[in-house]
C-alpha cells in the first residue's frame, strides 16, 4: 500500500516535471481543456475529432432541427435532425438511441444547408464598433466592450449625426432610467398614478387639471413622466426603445425581461411581425384566441391556398411541401392557388386563380355569400351553442354563430347579456334564452328586439356583410368571373370536414388585411372543420420553457416571479406604436377628438415595428432618447419607409443614441452609433417553436454548435447582463432567478429553460434533472412520437374551443381615424389609405399593381450572404406579363424602371417576361437589392474592410412602395386594424430605363 507520505514525497519530483511542462511553448502536457461550459450533454460520438451537435436552424423561421458535424470547433456539415418532425415523415421515435440515430438524416432545405456561410461570412463584424463619422458613413473606431458599456450606460460623445454637424453628447441608459420608480414611491401620501390619469382624462382644460395637483406631486411628475400634461404616456424610461427583427422564443422573452420588466420601458420588442403577416395572426386571434391554426395537410382533400406558395415558401417550408406532395401522390389532395402570380405551387394545382391583389376578401366573401345562400354550411355544427352541445354532436369545437349581438344603442357591437349570460334564440322557437340553457340556437331568427334593443345573431351579421355586394360585384372586385367564385365555393363545401383554407402574408399585407383574414378563417368555420382530420388544426404545440407549467422548476417568465422578484419594475404607458393603447383614453382625444394625428392600434401588441419607426420619426406620441435593435434591418425590409427611416436616424435630436446588435454591418445597423457584434444562430441559444402544421408536440432547442468565431464577439444576452449589472437592474446577477439561483450568462437562462422543457410532465427518461437535460440535448430537443398525431377521425392535440363568427372585441373597438366602430366579421372593403380614400382613385395614373413574392432559395434580408444560394438564384427581376410588355415595348432582360406616387425616381431592374402573372400586375421577389450587408467597405480606424459589391445585385421593391400621404407620409399604407404594413397595394408606372 502506498502511503500518503510517499505520494507527497513524489509530488516534489513530479512537480519538477510539471514546471518543465509549463515552460514548454506547445504546452503539450495539457491534453484537456475546460471549455467553461456547464453543458456536457450526452451526445453521440462518431470520430476522434468530429463532434455531432444538434441545434435548430434559423435561416428562415421554420425552426427545423439540424445536426451539425464539428471538427476542431469548425462546422463542416449541416444535416437535418431526424428526431425533429420538420425534417422527416415520420420522424424518429424519441427513444431512439442517439448512436442509432446517426444512421438517419433529416432533410433540410438549400437555405439551411447554406447556413454555414452565415457563420463563416467573411464580412462579419469582429469587434465592437463606434461610429467615427456621420451616421451611415461607414466610418468606425474599433472599441472594447468595456468602453461601449461605459458610454452606453453613462453617456458619452458622438460625432455629428450628419456631415458637417458638431460632436454632441448623449444621455446614457442610467440617465434615461434615472427617475424610474413606482408612482406611489414618487408621490408619498399623494395621488396614485391611476388617479392622476383619470383626473387628466376627465379634465380637458390644462390649468384646471394643473390646479388639482400639488406642487410636490407636480415636481415628482415632471421628473418621472414624459409629459405631466399627458400622464397616460408613461414614464421617461419609455424613451428607451427596443426593436427586434427576427425574434426567437427564448431570446425575445429574454430581451422583453431586460427592456420591459427590468429596465422598465413599455417600448420593448417592437418586432417585425407587421412587415411579415401580422393581420393573419390578429385575424386568427380575434376569431379563435390563438395566433394561427393550419390545415391538416396530409389528410386534406381540398385546399384553397390564398397567396401561400407552400411548395416554395411555406412555414415550415420542407414539412409543408413534403406533406402536400405526399397527399397528392396518395391521390387524396387537390388544391387551388389564389395568387396574382403563377407560383411553383400553382404549377401543381388543379386551378390557378389569378386574383387582383387585395381582392382576396371579395372572393372569400363571395364564397361565404354563396355558401349561406345555398345552405352549404354545416348547420348542425353552427347551431351548437357551447362545449356540451358540441360534445353531444361529436364535435370538439363550436361557434358563437347563434349569439345575439346588439346592433344599436350605447352597447352596439356587444353581445346581448342578461344576468351576465349571453342570449340566443332557442332552436325552433322565438324564445330568447341563456346560451348555455339549450344545445341548439337559431342561426338567423331575423332582427330581434330584446328589452327595446335591436339584436342580430353573429351568423346574421356575417350574412349581412356578405350580402353587401352581389356575386357579380365581388367577381369584378376580385378580377374573376362569377363562375370561379361559385365553382370554388361548391368544391370547398363538397368534402365534408376535409377541406380548408390556408393563408399567410399574401392576402393580409394589405390595408384591408384584417377583414380579409377574418373572411378566410370564417370559410373554415362554416364547414366546421376544426380539429378534424383534413381540417383546421391547432398543431402539437410545445413543452413550456418559460416556467408556466406544473413541473417547471425555473421561471424565466418574469411575470411569474412576483414573489421572488420584488423589485420588479413595471413598464407602463403608451407605446410609440400605439399598439395596445386606446386612443379614447388619451389626452389627445380629450382635446382633439377624431381623427387622431396618426392611427392607434388598440388590438395589437409588441409587434408593430413600422409604426414604432413612424412614432420615432414624428416624435409621436412623444420623443425618445435611445434605440436598441436586435437582428433588425428595417430600412431594407419595411415598405416605402427607407427614406423616412434614414432621415430620422440621421437626426440626433430624434435619435440621440442608436445601438445595434448585429452580425454584420447591415442596412439599418450601418446607421448605428455602436455596433455590438452578436453570435450567429449557429453560435446562439434559443427555444424555437414550430408551426401548427406539425401535429405532434415539438420543442427544438438551439444550442451553440461552435464557440463564438472571433474573440471580439459576445452573445447579446451576455452583454445585456453586463449592462444590467452596471445599471443594477433587478432580475439579473447571482440572485437573478431567485435567491441563490443565478442569471449571469446566456447558458444560465437557456439551460434553465431547457430543464423546464425536460421536466414538464412525464416522458423524458433520467433519474436526475441533469440526466433529463442530457437526454433532451442529445436529441436536439423534446419531440412527441409521430404516432401521437391523431386519435380516431380527429387530431390528438385539439383546439377544443370556440371559433368566433363575430368578434365582440373587434365589433366594439373604434377606428381612431374615423371614430366608427369596426365590423366584427369578415368583410370586403377596398384598398384605401388611413382616411379611407381608395388607392385606385388616388393613383389611377399608375396602371400597374406591384406585388412581392418569395422563392425557395432565398429568405428575408440575410441570404445574400450565402454564396451557395446566390449561385442557385443569382438575382431578381421585375416580373411582368408578356402582353403588358408587348404594349410597353419591353423585351425580356430590358432594364426597366418602376415608379410610384411615393418614389418618382423609381427603381430599376431587369424585366422578366412571364405568362404566369396577372396582366396589370408586376412582381419583384424579396431578398435582393442590398446596399450594405457586405456590399460596401467600412473604414475601421485607418483600415478599409473588404467587401463584395456583387451583394448589391438586383432590386428591392420596398423602395417604391407607397407611403400614406393622408396622415403625413411618414408611414406606409397600413391595415388600421391588424397593423400589417402593405406590400401589395402600391400602384406603379413602368418606364424603360
Amino acid at each position: 500500500m502506498v502511503s500518503r507520505r510517499d505520494f507527497l514525497k513524489l509530488s516534489g519530483a513530479a512537480a519538477s516535471l510539471a514546471v518543465f511542462a509549463a515552460t514548454n511553448a506547445e504546452s503539450i502536457f495539457n491534453h484537456f481543456s475546460d471549455p467553461g461550459e456547464v453543458i456536457n450533454p450526452d451526445k453521440v460520438e462518431i470520430g476522434t475529432d468530429v463532434d455531432v451537435k444538434y441545434s435548430v436552424c434559423l435561416q428562415c423561421h421554420s425552426g427545423c432541427g439540424i445536426r451539425c458535424k464539428i471538427q476542431d470547433d469548425r462546422l463542416i456539415k449541416i444535416d437535418g435532425n431526424p428526431y425533429h418532425p420538420n425534417t422527416l415523415e415520420p420522424h424518429l421515435p424519441y427513444s431512439t438511441d442517439p448512436q442509432e440515430a446517426l444512421n438517419y438524416a433529416g432533410r433540410i432545405c438549400a437555405k439551411g444547408l447554406a447556413g454555414m456561410q452565415t457563420l463563416y461570412d467573411p464580412y462579419r463584424v469582429k469587434q465592437p464598433l463606434k461610429r467615427s463619422g456621420p451616421r451611415g458613413s461607414g466610418q468606425w473606431t474599433a472599441i472594447t466592450w468595456q468602453q461601449a458599456l461605459n458610454e452606453i450606460v453613462n453617456g458619452g460623445t458622438l460625432s455629428g449625426a450628419k456631415e458637417g454637424e458638431a460632436d454632441y453628447t448623449f444621455a446614457g441608459l442610467s440617465e434615461i432610467r434615472k427617475f424610474i420608480s413606482t408612482a406611489e414611491e414618487l408621490m408619498p401620501g399623494g395621488k396614485t398614478m391611476e388617479e392622476i390619469i383619470s383626473l387628466r382624462l376627465s379634465t380637458e382644460d390644462n390649468s384646471a387639471y394643473r390646479s388639482q395637483i400639488t406642487e410636490a406631486e407636480w415636481a415628482a411628475m415632471e421628473n418621472y413622466l414624459i409629459d405631466p400634461y399627458a400622464p397616460e404616456l408613461g414614464s421617461k424610461s419609455n424613451q428607451l426603445v427596443h426593436m427586434l427583427g427576427r425574434g426567437e422564443h427564448g431570446r425575445k422573452e429574454f430581451t422583453d425581461r431586460w427592456f420591459g420588466e427590468s429596465f422598465g420601458t413599455i417600448n420593448q420588442r417592437n418586432d417585425h411581425t407587421d412587415i411579415c403577416e401580422l393581420s393573419h395572426h390578429v385575424g386568427w386571434k380575434l376569431l379563435s384566441g390563438k395566433t394561427h391554426l393550419k390545415p391538416d395537410l396530409i389528410n386534406c382533400e381540398f385546399l384553397l391556398l390564398f397567396g401561400s406558395s407552400l411548395l416554395e415558401a411555406g412555414f415550415p417550408f420542407l414539412a409543408t411541401a413534403r406533406k402536400i406532395t405526399r397527399a397528392i401522390n396518395e391521390g387524396r389532395l387537390k388544391y387551388v392557388v389564389v395568387d396574382p402570380r403563377y407560383s411553383r405551387t400553382a404549377m401543381h394545382s388543379m386551378k390557378w386563380v389569378p386574383i387582383i391583389p387585395g381582392g382576396d376578401a371579395a372572393l372569400a366573401m363571395g364564397m361565404v355569400k354563396w355558401i349561406i345562400d345555398n345552405g352549404k354550411y354545416d348547420q348542425g355544427y353552427l347551431e351548437n351553442t357551447g362545449k356540451d352541445a358540441a360534445s353531444n354532436d361529436n364535435e370538439s369545437t363550436w361557434t358563437n354563430s347563434t349569439y345575439l349581438v346588439q346592433v344599436e344603442g350605447d352597447n352596439k357591437g356587444s353581445f346581448l347579456k342578461i344576468d351576465d349570460k349571453i342570449q340566443i334564440v332557442a332552436k325552433g322557437t322565438v324564445n330568447v334564452v341563456d346560451f348555455d340553457g339549450v344545445d341548439h340556437g337559431e342561426l338567423d331568427p331575423g332582427e330581434i328586439i330584446v328589452n327595446g334593443v335591436k339584436c342580430k345573431t353573429s351568423f346574421r351579421l356575417l350574412k349581412d356583410n356578405a350580402n353587401e355586394w352581389t356575386l357579380e360585384q365581388y367577381a369584378a372586385e376580385a378580377g374573376l368571373d362569377v363562375n370561379t367564385i361559385v365553382e370554388l365555393a361548391a368544391e370547398f363545401t363538397s368534402h365534408g370536414k376535409k377541406a380548408a383554407t390556408e393563408f399567410y402574408r399574401g392576402p393580409v399585407q394589405h390595408t384591408n388585411g384584417l377583414y380579409t383574414a377574418l373572411a378566410l378563417v370564417t370559410l373554415n368555420t362554416l364547414i366546421g372543420n376544426g380539429d378534424w382530420k383534413g381540417g383546421i388544426v391547432a398543431g402539437g404545440s410545445h413543452w413550456h420553457e418559460m416556467g408556466t407549467k406544473t413541473g417547471n422548476p425555473y421561471y424565466p417568465d418574469v411575470s411569474l416571479q412576483s414573489k421572488i422578484y420584488p423589485s420588479k419594475t413595471k413598464s407602463w404607458g403608451v407605446r410609440l406604436s400605439r399598439a395596445g393603447a386606446k386612443y379614447e383614453s388619451s389626452t389627445e382625444y380629450l382635446k382633439n377628438g377624431y381623427p387622431a394625428q396618426k392611427p392607434w392600434f388598440p388590438l395589437l401588441g409588441k409587434d408593430l415595428s413600422h409604426v414604432c419607426l413612424q412614432g420615432i420619426a414624428d416624435q409621436y406620441p412623444y420623443p425618445i432618447k435611445a434605440v436598441f435593435i436586435t437582428k433588425a434591418n428595417f430600412n431594407y425590409s419595411t415598405p416605402g419607409m427607407r427614406g423616412i427611416i434614414e432621415q430620422t436616424f440621421t437626426d440626433n435630436n430624434k435619435v440621440p443614441l442608436f445601438v445595434a446588435f448585429d452580425v454584420i454591418v447591415g442596412e439599418f445597423s450601418s446607421f448605428a452609433d455602436y455596433i455590438l457584434p452578436d453570435g450567429t444562430y449557429l453560435e446562439q441559444w434559443a427555444t424555437p417553436h414550430v408551426s401548427p402544421v406539425i401535429l405532434t408536440k415539438t420543442s427544438g432547442v438551439r444550442t451553440p454548435t461552435v464557440p463564438l468565431l472571433y474573440p471580439g464577439i459576445k452573445l447579446e444576452e451576455d452583454y445585456l447582463i453586463d449592462i444590467a449589472k452596471a445599471l443594477s437592474l433587478p432580475g439579473f446577477g447571482n440572485d437573478g432567478f431567485d435567491v441563490g439561483v443565478p442569471l449571469n450568462n446566456a447558458s444560465d437562462w437557456y439551460l434553465k429553460s431547457i430543464v423546464n422543457i425536460a421536466l414538464e410532465g412525464e416522458g423524458v427518461p433520467g433519474e436526475t434533472q441533469d440526466a433529463k437535460l442530457n437526454y433532451v440535448l442529445a436529441r436536439g430537443g423534446r419531440f412527441e412520437d409521430y404516432s401521437q398525431a391523431y386519435s380516431g377521425e380527429k387530431v390528438n392535440h385539439k383546439f377544443g374551443k370556440m371559433f368566433n363568427i363575430y368578434s365582440e372585441q373587434l365589433g366594439t373597438t373604434k377606428d381612431s381615424m374615423t371614430g366608427q366602430l369596426f365590423f366584427g366579421t369578415g368583410k370586403y372593403v377596398r384598398i384605401a389609405d388611413a382616411m379611407e380614400n381608395p388607392i385606385d382613385n388616388i393613383d389611377s395614373s399608375f396602371p400597374f399593381r406591384l406585388i412581392t413574392y418569395k422563392t425557395a432559395i432565398h429568405t428575408q434580408s440575410r441570404t445574400i450572404a450565402n454564396p451557395y444560394l446566390v449561385e442557385l438564384w443569382p438575382e431578381n427581376w421585375i416580373v411582368i406579363n408578356s402582353k403588358d410588355a408587348l404594349t410597353l415595348g419591353v423585351s425580356d432582360g430590358d432594364i426597366i424602371k418602376i415608379i410610384s406616387a411615393t418614389n418618382s425616381n423609381g427603381v430599376e431592374g431587369k424585366a422578366k417576361l412571364r405568362e404566369g402573372i396577372r396582366p396589370g400586375v408586376v412582381g419583384v421577389s424579396h431578398n435582393f437589392g442590398h446596399w450594405q450587408y457586405g456590399a460596401k467597405p467600412q473604414r475601421i480606424d485607418a483600415k478599409v474592410t473588404e467587401s463584395d459589391p456583387e451583394r448589391a445585385v438586383g432590386i428591392q421593391s420596398n423602395e417604391v412602395m407607397r407611403l400614406d400621404t393622408s396622415i403625413g407620409g411618414t408611414m406606409c399604407l397600413t391595415d388600421k386594424i391588424g397593423g400589417s404594413a402593405s406590400f401589395y397595394d402600391t400602384r406603379v408606372r413602368i418606364e424603360k430605363a
Binding site: 506547445e26 491534453h31 476522434t48
Partner: protein, 238 residues
C-alpha cells in the same frame, strides 16, 4: 494516517490531489510522447530519482526499472534506443505494436489468437462521452484516439486538477463531484483494461524502461483506485 489535525481546512486533501495529479501527469507523458531529451534530463535532475525511488519502493518490486533509470538512461545511445522502442510499441503497427486503445482490449475477446476489438469501438465512444460529461474537451493538440491509454491517464489528471481547484476554493461539494468522477472513471474504464494492457506491453517489449513503466502504471492505477475510495470515505465523513 495523520490527517485529523488538518481536516477542517482540507489541507491534506489538497496536498493529496496535488501529488496524485502530478503522478498522472508524469505517467501519461510516458505513454503519449516519445521520450524527449528534456524529460530525460528532468528525470536525471536533482531529487527526482530519489523521490521516485521511494515511490517505486512503495509500489513493490521494480528493480530492473530502477536500475534502468539510474544507470542505462545515462547513455545517449540508450536514449535513441528508447525512442525507437516507443515508436515500435505505440506508433508503428509492426510486430511490437501494443495498440494502446481501450476498445481493442475491451470490445473483442482479448488474448493471443483470439479476436481483438476494433479501434473506435463502443468503449471509445463511452470514453469520449465520459470526457464530455465531465466537462473536459480534448485539446486540438491531441491527434490520437480518445481512448488512448495515455489520454485516459491525462484525463485522470484533469479530474484531479478540477478536484484540486475545488479544494482551493474550499468547495467540498464540487471536490466530491470530481472525486466521484475519478472513482467511476477508474472503475468503469481504466481498471477494466489497465492490467491487460500493461501485461501486453510487458510481453511485447524487452526494454526495461517500458517493462518497468508497465508494471508501475498497472500497480499505481490499482492502488489509486483504493486510494480514491478511501479519500471519498474520509471526505464524506467530515
Amino acid at each position: 494516517m495523520g490527517i485529523q489535525s488538518t481536516i477542517n481546512n482540507f489541507e491534506t486533501f489538497k496536498e493529496l490531489a496535488e501529488a496524485r495529479g502530478n503522478i498522472y501527469s508524469l505517467l501519461s507523458q510516458f505513454f503519449l510522447q516519445e521520450p524527449s531529451k528534456e524529460i530525460i534530463n528532468a528525470i536525471r535532475g536533482s531529487g527526482f530519482l530519489k523521490h521516485f525511488s521511494n515511490f517505486l519502493e512503495a509500489l513493490g518490486k521494480v528493480n530492473l526499472f530502477k536500475e534502468y533509470l539510474f544507470n542505462n538512461l545515462k547513455r545517449d545511445e540508450e536514449f535513441q534506443r528508447l525512442k525507437q522502442e516507443y515508436m515500435n510499441l505505440f506508433k508503428v503497427p509492426g510486430p511490437k505494436y501494443v495498440k494502446p486503445y481501450e476498445s481493442v482490449y475491451r470490445d473483442g475477446q482479448f488474448g493471443h489468437g483470439k479476436a481483438q476489438g476494433f479501434v473506435m469501438g463502443k468503449s471509445t465512444i463511452e470514453v469520449k462521452k465520459f470526457y464530455r460529461q465531465a466537462g473536459a474537451k480534448i485539446s486540438n493538440n491531441h491527434k490520437d484516439l480518445p481512448d488512448h491509454f495515455g489520454l485516459e491517464l491525462a484525463f485522470m489528471q484533469f479530474l484531479v486538477k478540477k478536484e484540486l481547484d475545488a479544494w482551493k476554493h474550499e468547495n467540498k461539494k464540487c471536490a466530491v463531484k470530481y472525486l466521484d468522477l475519478q472513482n467511476s472513471f477508474l472503475t468503469i474504464h481504466l481498471t477494466q483494461w489497465s492490467d491487460d494492457f500493461c501485461l501486453e506491453l510487458s510481453k511485447l517489449t524487452n526494454n526495461d524502461f517500458y517493462r518497468g513503466l508497465a508494471e508501475i502504471t498497472r500497480r499505481y492505477i490499482s492502488k489509486d483506485k483504493s486510494e480514491v475510495e478511501q479519500i471519498l470515505k474520509e471526505v464524506k465523513s467530515v
